[in-house]
């Protein structure tokens, strides 16, 4: 089996600050995803990547950047943190259009 590791588990930053979340997977999966989880709004796709150096925008990409420099890692940057975007960010990976495997999540706290 494999594992998806998200760091940090809690990310605390100030309003307007640029903040980065990291995700590593050892499944050797090609496709990776970043979702934002808000209560009552489900999982909303921010960015996904189907291979190294590929980036595809999801429905919630505004205000975020992503980077996939290696097959095993996928990072997400909040370009200017706002208090209304405190949420849990979930990274996932999959083979093709198969099952998504999720990390444990990173909680963003903006003060």
């Amino acid at each position: 089996g494999g594992i998806i590791t998200q760091t940090p588990k809690f990310l605390i930053g100030q309003e307007g600050q640029k903040l980065t979340l990291k995700c590593q997977q050892n499944f050797n999966h090609d496709t990776m995803y970043w979702y934002r989880q808000d209560s009552g709004k489900g999982l909303r796709l921010i960015y996904y990547s189907i291979t190294e150096n590929d980036l595809q925008k999801g429905d919630l990409s505004e205000g975020y950047d992503a980077s996939r420099e290696k097959k095993s890692s996928f990072s997400l940057t909040v370009t200017s943190a706002q208090k209304n975007e405190m949420a849990v960010f979930l990274c996932a990976s999959s083979i093709g259009q198969g099952t998504l495997y999720f990390g444990e999540g990173s909680r963003l706290i903006v003060v």
Binding site: G40, L43, Y48, L100
Partner: protein, 114 residues
């Protein structure tokens, strides 16, 4: 774009009663993959079951669902709810040969009481 609709935000049931969580979808692709994910408290979502075959029942861990392309539905059912079924359930869609963008519904929280 593709979308998934889960009409119930919260479903409360007494143990032993049947479960039905609704999921409908919209997509331009003719062969989508539909998924149900379950998220227990303080855990990450994990796959419960999936299907891409029209009108074929898929079962796992006592839950079942049938993809009906004619009505764009993939409802989740279980004959008898257990306390341990209390969780957040997400329906999700992948466009199949149309790409890799996986879209989730807003989720349904199932609370099962004794």
């Amino acid at each position: 774009g593709d979308s998934v609709t889960q009409t119930e935000g919260l479903v409360t049931l007494t143990e032993g009663l049947p479960v039905m969580l609704n999921c409908t979808y919209q997509t331009i692709y003719s062969n989508p993959f539909l998924f149900w994910y379950v998220q227990h408290l303080n855990e990450s979502p994990r796959l419960l079951l999936k299907s891409f075959t029209d009108n074929k029942r898929t079962e796992h861990q006592g839950f079942h669902a049938t993809l009906h392309k004619s009505s764009s539905s993939f409802h989740l059912q279980k004959s008898s709810a257990q306390l341990s079924d209390s969780a957040l359930y997400y329906c999700a869609l992948s466009p199949g040969t149309g790409g890799y963008k996986v879209v989730f519904g807003s989720g349904t929280r199932l609370l099962v009481s004794p």
